[in-house]
Amino acid sequence: MRRLLIPAAAALAVWPAWAIDQDRRFDDPELQARYETLISEVRCVQCQNQSIKDSNVTLAADLRREIARLIDEGRTDEEIVEFLVTRYGEFALYRPRATGKTLVLWIAPFLLVLFGGIALARVVRHRTSLPIDDEPAGKA
């Protein structure tokens, strides 16, 4: 009886861990790292504001399984991303590739900063060229 106690306690302690992570584990840490990165960069198209890593809807689980299968098959990250984009479109990627239609997403922030900078420079130059006629009152 005593001899069974420790294994039984150990088994009970491990039990909840099974429920948390039923996902694929890769033996190779490098593959595991690639898998983790890929699933955190793919949007769950069903829930839209979560990555498939964070989501537990069935489609996210299916996509994680497909990505694990593609890694098993020795596909590169580019090939796996291509697999997803041909099926779900660029929207499925949290980091859309800088091509064609998505180019505006990538350059828009820089253009905004540029235009803002030009506007700011013009305002500042205009103001500095004004005569200083608003001397603090009460000093004279």
Binding site: V45, Q46, T58, D62, G89
Partner: protein
Amino acid sequence: MNRFLWPLVLVVGLVAFLVMGLRHGDPRALPSPFIGKPAPQFELPTLKNPEVTIGTQHLAGKYSIVNVWATWCVMCRAEHGFLMALSANDTIPIYGLNWRDSRPDAIRWLGELGDPYVASAYDADGRVGIDWGVYGAPETFLVDPEGTVVYKHLGPLDADIWQREFAARMTGGGTGQ
């Protein structure tokens, strides 16, 4: 004058942009990357008879629709009546993709509500669903006689949507066949 013109132009532009965003319709509806491309290849056992398979080649030859459904999908029940009506007057062959479902449940559902499908492919693990870019049932694809995906609708079908989005895209005697 010029001082006020630029901010005005900016605000009008911004408002136009936001209005466009609002009028876009269902924000959950994503453009399907398959529009204008050949329907994705598949080969699956049929729901009612696992011995018989159904695949992409069955879609060729005339306009057909592929309807993604499941018994757990509430909106599929909502559109079922319309699909029955569509099949009753022989408008178009309807193929089903029974997505991530239980076979006995699905067969029982068709027994109770009627079966509008020429056949339903049984996609238990969702593999073919992924190949078709399915992300929420019900989804309905319109496939032309050459096997090209012409349109995809997300959500339940009804007569209005059918007329506006499907019938209007079928040319050359599609409707009568």
